[in-house]
Amino acid sequence: MTSIILRTATRYMFPPLLVFSVYVLLRGHHYPGGGFVGGLFAGSAFALYALAFSAADARKLLRFDTRDITAFGLAVALISGIPPLFCGNAFLTGTWWKMPLLTGGVLDIGTPLVFDIGVYLVVLGVLLTLVFTLGEEE
């Protein structure tokens, strides 16, 4: 077991890191950030957890297999390019919908955003696969 100071700090840093990662992901279209950095942050959160506790603990926390997350992310990114095909547009053409919010505002939801979410998941999965496998190496 590693230091309790580190473990405690990790516990308190973990949720904000995840939140920050989603923030970076969702704001990426308008401000610096995006799926890639967002995914790296999410991955770093789990990496920190794996360092402070153990790779196995981090895996438990994650619940999904890292390779599944990766593949799923790739699938999401790929699928995000499909909807425009049904409108006669080219692959990966940005398609946007206005989504009314509960509060009365309107949110632009578009396939590029979905694509970015795919990127986020891929990066998360990849980073964790690397960290966990290397961390578990004897």
Partner: protein
């Protein structure tokens, strides 16, 4: 006034960054280097934030936050490496 101060601060920070780099190089022990690199990261944060002031653009703040967080994780990783007896 700020326009005048910013370049000076920037220079101070760059010099600090360089000095931290010197410690990275001269060591002598691995923890010394790690401390120095952590210091360098801290200075990079300061640099980026100063640049925000100078350019009047707040878009660089997330970069600063990123490094604040990530350099910590990096340092932890290296510290664990050292304490597990990893050679330099």
């Amino acid at each position: 006034m700020v326009e005048f101060v910013c370049p000076i601060v920037m220079l101070m920070l760059i010099v600090s960054f360089g000095a931290a780099f010197v410690r990275v190089v001269i060591g002598p022990t691995l923890p010394d280097r790690v401390v120095a690199l952590d210091m360098a990261a801290t200075i990079v944060v300061a640099l980026i934030l100063t640049h925000c002031v100078q350019s009047g653009s707040s878009y660089y703040i997330p970069a600063a936050i990123s490094i604040a967080l990530l350099s910590f994780i990096g340092t932890v990783a290296l510290a664990l490496y050292i304490s597990k007896g990893g050679p330099s």
